[in-house]
Amino acid sequence: MFHKILIANRGEIALRILRACREMGIRAVIAHSTADAASLPVRLADESICIGPAESRQSYLNIPSIISAAAVTDSEAIHPGYGLLSENAAFAEICRACGITFIGPSPEAIRIMGDKAQAREMARQAGAPVVPGSDGALRGLDEAQRVADSIGYPVMIKAAAGGGGRGMRIVSERDALARAWATCQSEATKAFASGELYLEKFVDEARHVEVQVLGDRNGIRVHLGERDCSVQRRHQKLLEESPAPTISAETRAGLCKAALAVAHAVNYVSAGTVEFLVDRGGRYSFIEMNTRIQVEHPVTEMVTGVDLVREQIRLAAGESLGYAQSAVQMSGHAIECRVNAEDPETFVPSPGRVTAWVPPGGPKVRVDSHMMAGYTVPPHYDSLIAKIIVHGRDRAEAIARMHRALAETIVEGVKTTIPYHLKLLSDPAFLSGEFTLPRMERNL
């Protein structure tokens, strides 16, 4: 096992990784920017090292600085958290070349899954259903038009290098394709340094359901059930739950089997998430695989009792999983609400100084947050300030508990998405479980 790990991330996930290290008896070094020098993870870490100025490009995304920080602190491994460098195959490769363990899958697996068009093809070959669309990346607008004509509108244009909900456009008719193509291409070039696009049939009224998988170096792989992430705003997830409401046992079994097939196909080691769209008839199709820890991982931890960050560290150190699928037991229902420093109506970020912070407590409530009174939410990074996760015997109990937890949460100084969540938890469509991606965006 490692003696010292460098955490190359910030905010709540840096704290989450730090907590896992503490419980495992591993020293943790937090690599931070100047903007985060007074943050809670830095205060609580065994060691901290400043790697650059506030702008992520010069600090959290600065590969030479992070490798150098690991070297001068004698860290044996780097945990990249989520976002930032977590799905950067080149970074994972450099870690390997420098003799530092990257806590995540192989650079090869990251690279294949990072190219969304290639990932789609890989999933199809592994036997996972995919949404009808182009075979890999498109060569140009002409080909896009041909494919769209053959599968029928509406279609979705996506950036091959995209992810996290960016670089995609829904096109409802042929006349709109050329313009959407151009916009998407320039957006993708800017955001991902690659203008490669592919195209899929747009599945309306679908749910976003993802399966958590774990794999070790001996090829032992298990799934930890699914999470429903259909509550989104501008492709950004706001609430996640497990198990997914209203899907049949048959659909669930199919999803989990397909997720493991995809993980096997790339010889996946570490924790990963395979994302699917599930339509009203229970038909599912692979969208992409995220080769890192997810923001919403606590939902799975609550229903399975498995510490996913600990498993990531163990598996990276070369340990075997040590249990089979039958040992993974799920109980009850868990929900997570992402509390963002954003206006609950417009979703415009609301950075600033947190003057009061009282997190919720009581039975079966978990709060993952780097907040503290007097903390200034920096404008340089994402707006997630806390994740509130609850567990209940069933969905109704979990919803009631989340309602109670959110109502007792006090955040002053910045606007948060809590009012949105409270409204959502009383919405009939949400309560019935019969909600889908676009519908939730329209209604709230």
């Binding site: 100047t34 205060r43 001068v72």
Partner: protein
Amino acid sequence: MRGGSGKGSGAWTPRELVELAVQHDLAELEVEQGGTRIRVVRERSAQAGERAPRAAAPGAAGALPTEGLEPALEASLVKVEAPMVGTFYRAPGPDTAPFVSEGDLIKEGQVLCIIEAMKLMNEIESKLTGRVAKVLVENGQPVEFGQPLFLVEPRR
């Protein structure tokens, strides 16, 4: 950079205590909390190493180790900070003379030191002309981004 002991939130960290002692110019400060006693003693000749507390306010030259310098001079000194994280070297090689020593006159663009990051030797150049008043970091020590390396007395 901090290689410190952990603490529960709410309690004083050694770093905070040191800062408090510096801020109020105390020779000694002792705090007992949750069964742990922390005593901060400031020695006049204390050598500031890489684990020294960072100044509470940016640019607060008073908290920097400038003992032995004239107070009037101290106020006019300019800090040269590390532009990257890495290992600090005063000389191009183990058996060679340092790039600069205290008292040396330096010119803008002159190499002051090397910071090794990812096995690359990055020469750090001076952005000003002046005299090296103080070398703050020992050869071979790790430095973090923004850490003061030299104090320079600017000259025209």
